[in-house]
Point group: C2
Chain length 505, copies 2
Amino acid sequence: MSDPLEQLRRRLAALSDLRCAAELLGWDQQTMMPPRGGPARAESLATLERIAHDMFVSAETGHLLEAAAAELDGAAPDSDDACLVRVTRRRWEKARRVPSELAAELARSASVGQEAWVEARRRSDFDAFAPYLEHNLELARRYVDCFDRFDCAYDALLDDYEPGIKTTTVSALFAELGSELAALITTLAQRSIDDSCLHGSFPIERQRELVEGVLARMGFDRAGWRMDDAVHPFAAALGSQDVRITTRWDQSYFASALYGAMHECGHGLYEAGIADSLQRTPLGHGESLGLHESQSRLWENMVGRGRPFCDVLAPSIAQTLGSSVAPETLYRAVNRVEPSFIRVEADEATYGLHVVLRFELEQELIEGRLAVSDLPEAWNERVQRYLGLEVRDDADGVLQDVHWASGAIGYFPTYALGNLIAGQLWERALADMPDLDAQIAAGELSPLRDWLREHVHRHGAKLETGELLQRVVGGPIAVAPFISYLKRKLGDVYGLELTAQPRPL
Amino acid sequence: MSDPLEQLRRRLAALSDLRCAAELLGWDQQTMMPPRGGPARAESLATLERIAHDMFVSAETGHLLEAAAAELDGAAPDSDDACLVRVTRRRWEKARRVPSELAAELARSASVGQEAWVEARRRSDFDAFAPYLEHNLELARRYVDCFDRFDCAYDALLDDYEPGIKTTTVSALFAELGSELAALITTLAQRSIDDSCLHGSFPIERQRELVEGVLARMGFDRAGWRMDDAVHPFAAALGSQDVRITTRWDQSYFASALYGAMHECGHGLYEAGIADSLQRTPLGHGESLGLHESQSRLWENMVGRGRPFCDVLAPSIAQTLGSSVAPETLYRAVNRVEPSFIRVEADEATYGLHVVLRFELEQELIEGRLAVSDLPEAWNERVQRYLGLEVRDDADGVLQDVHWASGAIGYFPTYALGNLIAGQLWERALADMPDLDAQIAAGELSPLRDWLREHVHRHGAKLETGELLQRVVGGPIAVAPFISYLKRKLGDVYGLELTAQPRPL
């Protein structure tokens, strides 16, 4: 066999092209597609998945992987080629256990379920949605049954989103996180913060100007990016030169679009920062969803809701929205802690609890301990327990997220893991860049972006998240840095002594 | 082999899904993609084409076709199944002669060339564009070399766009058409028409309202359609339930967007009207580009520029653009004949000459009788000869169309063939529907749409264009009905006795 590595690369490039086409089909479904296009879209996505799956799991790919590994014997383990073979082999070992028809059906149901969810959520009709969730759970169980090396069903699902992590690890992290957050929320509930400066009447076009100004500072560039509206904001990348983010607009509350866009732009910067040499390979996207989310949350919260950036935001808000607000007032407003129904709009302290409750419920669902018909009640009970709120409307409750509708079970934990990782990276960045606060206050965000590119983005999926964290922060995912960051900030905002650990220098 | 027809259908459905994905990638490239996305897009399109081509031309497809044909022995030749096997076999016989790498390279170069053209046209820089055209011609010649059953190189290319037609047939039709049009233009040059009512300052948003009103009457429906902006307007369909049209806007001349949109909506109605039973099969799109163009031109010109519809347009224009114009004045203005540089904005009398000159030039290019470097001069000379105009700027000359940039050589003739077919269908529709003029004048366009759906749209690609015309108008493509229609209308507009044949009743 002549040059198996080159043959492998060609095969993987074609697969990357197929994934890219599927990514566009998905992006289009959520942003552009006319409603009646749904059924045909689901078929197209299923076909692309079937073809890509068949091509990937074929014995030919296995032979090429084996021959390429032999060809690379002695190569530096960090080289692009060595990582390519290692990561691809790991994915191939997993994928080849999944029948092609199941892979296609998962793709079809994800697309169909998403359309059903949009409609069910609009009408707040859980019963209309239930059969799609039942079907997705059934498929997820069939998927889990393809494997025998996992300790539990949920491990097999989680591994697709956060490779290598165990449910028990997540449970331990969440136990620590949950108790820290619950205590924090109880403490803060005694004081209140005025966030009236975020509410009012703000024409969308003026908000757009504000948001575009912020995104431009972050690195959004029309030559290689675009931004559209979506019901459930997301980011998609067709390679590093075609990055697409979405946001939604609320005429009465500009923070929704502003922080949503910063969040998605954080995802986009990750994809835009991946090395050219990794494009059109399986390494050309972010490695894990937790790591991806760490980027979006770092930009949204550590930067966007940090005191320094409020010095940039306040004058921009005055200029675009015509509202005069002091940076300090803005800083306090955007960090107000208050239990609420919607995860994506939750403050940083309550956010984690939204994730914990989903993590618990989806384990129960997949293991059959909770019936779909009992889910709304279980959801509402959990919201009452964790957030002290009574859900009156499924649209703001169990129907609020698209994930289960699109079969993404095991995905939610990565959101909270992303917060933890963001806490770790932020601590490291502050230590590495003594001028970071001053730079951000001056609106200079490129030093931070460059630091993230150097330490995270450029690697794409070359390193597992654990390995990358080991190199950058010297250890595995941990709760302490995030809690420390949060207590420091909220102590500042609420005028309370919360800080357990000193700010790193 | 169990049920080969069912197996064939499944295989063709997957191919249809792949084509659908490619269609979306192409649509997105021209409407949404950020500029730097171009290179990755070309690779994705090449990969989709390679995979689809390989799947289609495989021996397995051949065996299924053979077995399905045997299974269908005795079936009605007009049945969906019989047509499916017949049409697919014809395409398979052609496609299997083309190497997969050439098919992929054609797709890649089409995408790359299109991006290069946008930039070259913007800068009116033919030299920057020339290498892409050279490459596309080289690929076209390699493509032609795959076949031995065609009388000349151009026949092989033409056959992809207008299956079954010969260059000699087109030449004969164009000789007749050209001389009729030239005589007509000479006659009309003696009189002038005032079209000042079309010019002015018309905010795009008001124009959009006008256009959307007209499209809604035609059958555009947001649930299954969308409209976007494009440099070179086009229509795309991802099945009958997801139809996408594009238009461009000129603040100083509303006819550009209005008639452009009606034109593309005509294409869209064809795709939207194809029978459900043909979706996700090779029969699920329009058969030939000439037939497709007949639909766009019929709506744009026979309806849109006809006297009855001016009774609908005039009040709409008053309401949306605030310009008061009499229906008769509008009718005369939109039918003004005057040689001009841009094909897509040409009147109905000069339009055909734009096509004839391209038809001549591309034959010379493909046969090597004309060098790419000599093309601008040859173009300008031909424009002088046919239209009496001196081209001062390649952007308004040889660079105006995207077709050669995307490798579509042999495509242009179908535009003029479309006019001829539209003339034939229009004659038939008028004869079939005595109330058609009155319906159109009342803004009721659905009877015409239903007639077209019944006689043309629903068949998809079941019937070759010649066969369909035989059934609907009783003969092959002919020049006389179109010229007769044109003389009748222009005689009316110009107050001259041009009508050679009486209006059919």
